[in-house]
Amino acid sequence: MSNPESLVAIQNSFEPKIVAFFCNWCTYLAADLAGTSRIKYAPNIRVIRTMCSGRVDPQFVLEAFARGADGVLIGGCHPGDCHYQEGNYKTLRRVRMLRRVLREMGIEDERFRLEWISASEAERLKVAVNDMVEKIRALGPLRLEIKAEHFPEEVAA
C-alpha cells in the first residue's frame, strides 16, 4: 500500500471531476445567480442542464461514473417547489434506490449527491459544490473495482 505521505500528495494534486445535472428552473438558475453575484466556488463541476431533475436517468449517473467522473451531483427544486409539480420526488425515489446500488458497487455516498437548491440559493450552491469537492478530494479518485483492461494471467497458487 502507498504510504500516507504519497497519499496526501495525490490528494492535494487531485482535482475531482464532478458531473452536475441541474434542473432548468431552480439549481441552474442558482448557478446563474452565483455568476451574477460573483460568488466564487470550486471549478470542478461541469453542469449539464435538464429541464427537471426528474429527467436524470440513472443511466446518466452510471455513464458519468463509467466515463471517469469522481462524483455526480444532481440539483433540483426543493420538495414542494418543483416547476413540474412533482418531478423532484421521482428523482428522490430513484436516487434512494440508486444509492444502494452504487454502494454495493463500491461508490461512496459522498460521490453521489442530490441537493435541493432553489433559484435564489446561490450561496447554498457554493457550499454544496465546495463541500462535495473537498469530500471527494479526501476520498481520492474513483477507482471502479473492476480491473477492466487486461485479464490477469492465472490464479496464484
Partner: protein, 336 residues
C-alpha cells in the same frame, strides 16, 4: 477454359455448440427442439458439441478458419479455457452467436463480479459451512507429482460476457432462450439474409407487450411496498407488479412469450434490455422506483428497502454488461 471447381461432397453448413461458464440450461434449449432437432441435423452438420457429441478441441482446430457457418456459444467467460475456446470458435466460425443470458450479458454467473476472485476462492474452498479444508488446499493451475503434471484452467479476476472477450455477431437472449427463438435463429442463419451485426434475435419491445396479464395493470399503478414472490400469494390472472411483486417485464425484452408470468412468477429480466437501453439495471431501477407511492423521504427510504438486494434484483443477469461493471471499453472511450 478451366473446369468449374468440384462441388464439395458434403455441402451441408457446419454448426458448432459450446458452453462456457453456464448451468447447462442453454444446452437443454437445443434438446428442447424435440424432434425438430432432426430437422436441424438434416440441414446442418454439427461439428462440435461437447455436451452431446464426442468431437474434441483438436477436431475444431483442424478445421479451416471460417469454415463453420455458425458457432453457438453459451455461458459467460471466467476461465482461461473458456477464453481460448471463444477465440478458437471465433476464428473458425463465420457467425458467432452468444446464446443465452450468460453469453449475452454475463448472466447469473456475472453476479460474481460483486466479489473479488480471492473472496470467491476463500468462500468456496475454506469458509463455506460444508467445507472441511484444514490444509487450505486451493485449486492449482499446474500440479506435478511423480513426473506427471495435471493442469486446470486459470480463473480470471472477473466474469465477462462473450462479447467482452471476442467479437460477437448475434445474440440470442434468455435464461435459457426458448426453443422457438433458437429455431427461428437457425432459420434466419440458414436463410442467408442476415440481420445487421449485433442484432439481438428477439423482438425489440418489452415483455408486457406479450404478457397475458397486460390489461390488468392499472393505468396509474404506484406501490407502497415491494414484495418478493415467496412473500406473496400471487393471483394468477392479475399483473404481477400490480400485486406489489417486483416484475421486470416492463424493462425486459420480449420473445419468451411471458413464460414466467404464465407460470405465476414475476419476470426477472433474463432477456435483458431493449436496444434503446444502455444499462438494464439502471432502467429497471428507474422504472420500479419511480412508481413508489410516497413523497416523504423517510417513507421512500423504507419502501426502497423492501427490495432487499437491489443489485441482485435489477442486475440479476446483466452485471458484467452494466455500465459500471463492464469490461468492454467501446470505441468512443478508446478514442478519447
Amino acid at each position: 477454359m478451366t473446369k468449374p471447381a468440384a462441388v464439395p461432397k458434403n455441402p451441408k453448413p457446419k454448426v458448432a455448440f459450446y458452453w462456457c461458464a453456464s448451468c447447462g440450461g442453454c444446452e437443454e434449449t437445443v434438446l428442447d427442439l424435440d424432434e425438430r432437432v432432426l430437422d436441424v441435423v438434416a440441414a446442418v452438420d454439427i461439428v462440435f458439441w461437447p455436451v452431446a457429441l464426442d468431437f474434441k478441441r483438436h477436431d475444431v482446430e483442424a478445421l479451416p478458419d471460417g469454415s463453420i457457418l455458425a458457432a453457438f456459444v453459451n455461458g459467460a467467460v471466467r476461465t482461461t479455457e473458456q477464453e481460448e475456446m471463444a477465440h478458437l470458435l471465433r476464428k473458425k466460425a463465420k457467425v458467432l452467436v452468444a446464446l443465452g443470458s450468460c453469453a449475452q450479458l454475463g448472466g447469473i454467473a456475472g453476479l460474481a463480479n460483486l466479489s473479488s476472485r480471492e473472496g470467491i476462492l476463500q468462500s468456496s474452498y475454506c469458509e463455506s459451512p460444508s467445507t472441511v479444508n484444514a490444509e487450505k488446499v486451493f485449486p492449482q493451475t499446474l500440479y506435478k507429482e511423480n513426473g506427471y503434471s495435471v493442469s486446470l484452467p486459470g480463473l480470471f479476476e472477473t466474469v465477462c460476457s462473450l462479447d467482452q472477450v471476442v467479437d460477437v455477431d448475434y445474440y440470442l437472449p434468455g435464461c435459457p432462450p426458448t426453443p422457438k427463438l433458437l429455431w427461428d435463429a437457425v432459420h434466419v442463419l440458414l436463410g442467408g439474409e442476415l440481420p445487421p451485426k449485433g442484432t439481438v434475435l428477439a423482438p425489440d419491445r418489452a415483455l408486457c407487450e406479450e404478457c397475458p396479464r397486460k390489461d390488468t395493470r392499472p393505468e396509474k399503478l404506484t406501490l407502497k411496498e415491494f414484495k418478493r414472490p415467496q412473500d406473496a400469494v400471487i393471483d394468477e390472472a392479475t399483473c404481477v407488479l400490480a400485486q406489489g411483486v417486483v416484475c421486470l417485464g416492463p424493462a425486459t425484452r420480449s420473445g419468451c412469450e411471458a413464460l414466467c408470468p404464465q407460470g405465476n412468477m414475476p419476470c426477472t429480466g433474463c432477456f435483458g434490455p431493449t436496444s434503446r437501453v444502455r444499462d438494464y439495471g439502471a432502467k429497471a431501477l428507474s422504472a420500479i422506483s419511480s412508481i413508489i407511492d410516497s413523497n416523504d423521504p423517510e417513507e421512500i427510504e423504507k419502501i426502497v428497502h423492501t427490495v432487499p438486494d437491489p443489485v441482485g434484483t435489477f442486475y440479476r443477469y446483466s452485471l458484467p454488461a452494466s455500465l459500471l461493471r463492464r469490461k468492454k471499453i467501446d470505441e468512443a472511450l478508446k478514442t478519447k
